[in-house]
Symmetry: C2
C-alpha cells in the first residue's frame, strides 16, 4: 500500500533533486550549499539528510537524471551496422562531451565513480549499470561479427576500451591534451588496442629498424 507518508517522501525527494538540477546547473556543485538547496526545495536543512547521507549522494541522484537523458540519446545515435571503433567512439565522445560540459561536474563524477568511498558504492552502481548494458551490446555484436576476439571475456573487452577512455579524460583534466585532440587521441588508442601493442608475427622483420 502507498501510504500518505510514502507519497510525501516521494514528492520531497523529487523536490530536492529538482532544486539540485537547477542550483548545480546554475552555480555548480561546490558553490551550492545544503542550506541553499533546502531553501530552494522548500524544506529544512536537516530534512535533506533523511533523503541523502551526504552532499555527494545528492550529486549522484543529479547524475542519474543527466545520464538517463544522455543514454537515451546515445542509444539512438549509435548505428548497429558501423564498425566497433566507430560505435565506441560515438558513445565515449558523447559521454566525454557531456561529462565535460561542466568541467567541475565531470571531475567530481569521474573521481567518485572510479574511486568511491565504501558508503558510496551503492549509489555508484546504479549509475553505471545502464552504461555497461549499452556497451556490452556493442561489444557482443562486434564479437559475433568477428571484429573482436571471442576468447576474451566481454567484461575484459569492455575494460580495455573503458580504461583508454578514462586515460583520455584524465589527460584532458591534467592539461596534457587539448579539447580538440581528444577525439583523435582516443581513436588512435582504440585502434592500437585493437591491433595490439606487440609487433605482429608478420611485421616482426622490421623490428630492428
Amino acid at each position: 500500500m502507498t501510504t500518505l507518508r510514502e507519497k510525501k517522501k516521494q514528492l520531497t525527494r523529487k523536490a530536492i533533486i529538482e532544486a539540485a538540477v537547477r542550483l548545480f546547473g546554475r552555480k555548480g556543485f561546490e558553490k551550492t550549499s545544503i542550506e541553499e538547496l533546502a531553501r530552494e526545495a522548500g524544506i529544512g536543512k536537516g530534512t535533506i539528510y533523511t533523503y541523502f547521507q551526504t552532499k555527494a549522494e545528492i550529486f549522484y541522484a543529479f547524475c542519474e537524471e543527466q545520464f538517463e537523458f544522455i543514454h537515451k540519446e546515445l542509444a539512438t545515435k549509435t548505428d548497429p551496422e558501423a564498425p566497433v571503433i566507430e560505435r565506441v567512439m560515438t558513445v565515449f565522445m558523447g559521454e566525454f562531451l557531456h561529462v565535460t560540459q561542466n568541467k567541475e561536474f565531470g571531475r567530481f563524477f569521474m573521481q567518485r565513480v572510479l574511486f568511491p568511498e565504501e558508503y558510496e558504492k551503492n549509489s555508484r552502481d546504479e549509475v553505471d549499470n545502464k552504461w555497461l548494458e549499452l556497451l556490452f551490446s556493442i561489444y557482443q555484436k562486434a564479437q559475433q561479427r568477428g571484429e573482436l576476439r571471442q576468447d576474451i571475456d566481454l567484461l575484459y573487452l569492455a575494460g580495455h576500451f573503458y580504461a583508454l577512455y578514462i586515460l583520455v579524460v584524465s589527460s584532458w583534466y591534467s592539461g596534457r591534451i587539448e579539447t580538440e585532440e581528444v577525439a583523435s587521441s582516443m581513436r588512435l588508442l582504440f585502434q592500437q588496442a585493437l591491433d595490439g601493442l606487440a609487433p605482429t608475427k608478420s611485421s616482426l622483420s622490421n623490428n630492428q629498424g
Copy 2:
C-alpha cells in the same frame, strides 16, 4: 643570497611536512585537522596557509616523500633483462601495494592525480614525472628488443599500460575485484593489450564459431 627569511621558511616547510608524515601516518588524512597539524609542527594555524594553499596540497608534499621511497625501491627491483610484461607487472604491483596500503591515502591520491583541480596541476606534475621516467626506460628497452611496436609513440605505449593499471585499481576500489585477483587481472589485461583485441589474421577462421 640565502636570506635568513628563506632559511626559516625552509625549516618551517620541512616541519609541516614532517608533522604531516607523522600525523597522516598515524591518524589518516581526513582525521588530521589543520589545527592539529599546526600544533604538531609548532606553528600557528594560519601560517600553514602561507606554505600550502589547501589541505590537499599538504597531501601532495606528503606523497612526494612517500614516492621518493617507493620509486627508488622499484628502480632497483626491476630486472632489465626480464620481458616487458614482467617488468611492468613489478612496477605496477609495487605501486598498487604501496598506494593501497592505506586505502584512504590511495583513493585520495588517485582521485587527485587523475582529475586535478586547476590549481593542483603543478603539485601533481612533480609527483608523476619521475614515475614516467622509470616507465619510459622500460618501454624504450622493450621497443629496442622488439617486444613492443616501434611505430607507437612511447607516450602512447605508456598510456596503454597506465590506463589498464588505473582500471584495475578502480575495480579494486569499487569492489569489483578482490585484492588477490589484482595481479592476475592486471597480467591478463596487459597480455591482451600486447596481443590486440581484434582477431589476428591467422585466427580469423574460427570467428564465426
